[in-house]
């Protein structure tokens, strides 16, 4: 057991070092090497952090969804495995909230610099806000429900949230085609100049690696917490079993 955790520890450190290197390299590419954009100027460099983060923030909800489905499936059949799935679910939800928060914050700063407004209810920002809201509500449910049921209720909510994400996206798009409003920046859709690709790709790689690191680290923490809960529950039970001499 100790040897296994040793290997994990070393592998983890190696991954962290590689990730930080990738991010550092990507940041350098974004800030220094990538050419200045013709129309938007240097503010466009925010996109090298903003767009990869938004792309990744759409991935983690589905990790949460799959984990929740596995939890619901294993709940009665194999409770120990179900706990693993639950740990993945909460980690993915928290990472989703972190990534979508960053997407919103960087988007707002870019908008302020480029257009002078902090916010607009355009399709992309509104959808991202609703995604953020969905997973914050998931985290709130986990926090505020009574223990023993938290995991099942959260898994159920996760199913609803995951099904809702594409519906939210489509409905907001339709809303904005019916009532067009100024769009906050073309971003990746309007085509990236090949000279900007290295910076963009390296940022995607770097932040994806970081996301995986966060997911695994948070998963490890959740497993530790589960272990500690089980240990204290066991201690409590043993306490009641002590026979008075």
């Amino acid at each position: 057991m100790a040897k296994r955790s040793c290997i994990f520890g070393v592998a983890g450190m190696v991954w962290v070092v590689l990730t930080l290197t990738a991010i550092a390299y990507a940041t350098r590419l974004a800030l220094v090497v990538a050419p200045t954009e013709a129309t938007m100027g240097n503010v466009q460099r925010i996109f090298y952090y903003h767009v990869p983060t938004s792309m990744l923030s759409l991935l983690f909800p589905y990790v949460n969804f799959m984990a929740s489905l596995f939890y619901l499936y294993w709940r009665r059949r194999d409770p120990l495995r179900a706990l693993t799935a639950d740990a993945v679910a909460i980690s993915a939800a928290e990472v989703t909230v972190v990534y979508s928060s960053i997407c919103l914050l960087t988007g707002m700063l870019w908008g302020r610099a480029a257009w002078g407004i902090w916010w607009t209810w355009d399709a992309r920002l509104t959808s991202m806000l609703l995604l953020w809201l969905l997973y914050v509500s998931y985290l709130m449910l986990r926090k505020l429900s009574s223990t023993g049921q938290t995991q099942t209720l959260a898994a159920v909510l996760s199913v609803f949230a995951a099904i809702d994400v594409p519906i939210v996206y489509m409905s907001i798009q339709w809303w904005r085609t019916q009532h067009p409003a100024p769009v906050f920046g073309g971003g990746a859709d309007s085509g990236i100049d090949p000279s900007m690709m290295p910076a963009f790709v390296w940022n995607v790689v770097g932040w994806a690696m970081w996301g995986i690191f966060l997911l695994l680290y948070r998963y490890g923490l959740e497993r530790r917490r589960q272990e500690s809960e089980q240990a204290s529950a066991l201690r409590a039970i043993e306490g009641t079993l002590e026979i008075a001499q």
């Binding site: 709130m140 505020l144 049921q149 159920v156 939210v168």
Partner: protein
């Protein structure tokens, strides 16, 4: 052939008994509500107050009223339904009725469906009483196809009530029930809310086509009703 026939007959019998359960739960809720009438009356007054507050807040002209009345209607109904939804489940917690439900062999989704239908009737009743007030306070008359409101209102109400009943059952086991229900229900229901508000506004102002939103509401209702029916058993026996 006769084996297929008897299997078919068994299925039909099961289906009839399922709907029998649903009707049973529905009747129970209607009877309970009829005796106290607190849910419907409470909802009605709450919605009315919301309407009045918005009028004071915006003091709309006739043209502006048509733009905002759709949104105000659904906001009023949404907030009014929160109390009613929570109450419909606390009713089951008295005298440990919920435990009895959990232990009975009757399908759990029948309980959910019965309760959701009952809530649908209550909210529809509130809408019917509220509608004349709306027309009066905002001097409304629909510039678009008014008859489409007859489609939009039930669809929108079902979206609210179906998700609402489900999430009220979910939030029954949380530490702060009244806070949890809106917190988990509204984000999931946002596309439906957008749909009902946009459709109502489109019909009232006549400026755009509500058909798209009606289709969204239909699709949303089908998807989420199925999901609610499938997952209710899990929520009921969440221990």
């Amino acid at each position: 052939m006769s084996r297929v026939g008897s299997e078919l007959r068994d299925e039909l019998r099961a289906l009839r008994s399922y709907f029998g359960h649903v009707i049973c739960h529905l009747q129970k809720d209607l009877r309970l509500e009829w005796r106290s009438r607190e849910s419907v009356v409470g909802m009605l007054f709450f919605a009315l107050l919301v309407v009045i507050i918005f009028s004071l807040a915006f003091d709309p002209t006739a043209a502006v009223s048509r733009q905002i009345a759709g949104g105000i209607l659904w906001v009023a109904l949404l907030f009014a339904s929160f109390t009613a939804l929570n109450q419909s489940w606390t009713r089951e917690q008295r005298n440990r009725v919920l435990e009895a439900h959990r232990m009975s062999p009757a399908p759990a989704s029948a309980l959910f469906l019965g309760k959701a239908l009952a809530n649908l009737l209550f909210v529809t009743l509130v809408e019917l009483v509220l509608a004349p007030f709306f027309l009066i306070f905002y001097n409304l008359h629909a510039l678009g196809q008014g008859w489409m409101l007859l489609a939009v209102l039930p669809l929108g109400t079902w979206a609210l009530v179906c998700n609402g009943t489900f999430f009220a059952a979910l939030s029954l086991r949380t530490r702060n029930r009244e806070l949890m229900l809106p917190l988990i229900m509204v984000p999931v229901s946002l596309p439906a809310l957008l749909g009902m508000m946009s459709a109502t506004t489109a019909i009232l102002t006549g400026e755009s086509d509500p058909a798209l939103w009606v289709r969204l509401l239909v699709a949303y209702n089908i998807i989420f009703t199925l999901v609610c029916l499938l997952l209710f058993e899990t929520v009921l026996s969440a221990e």
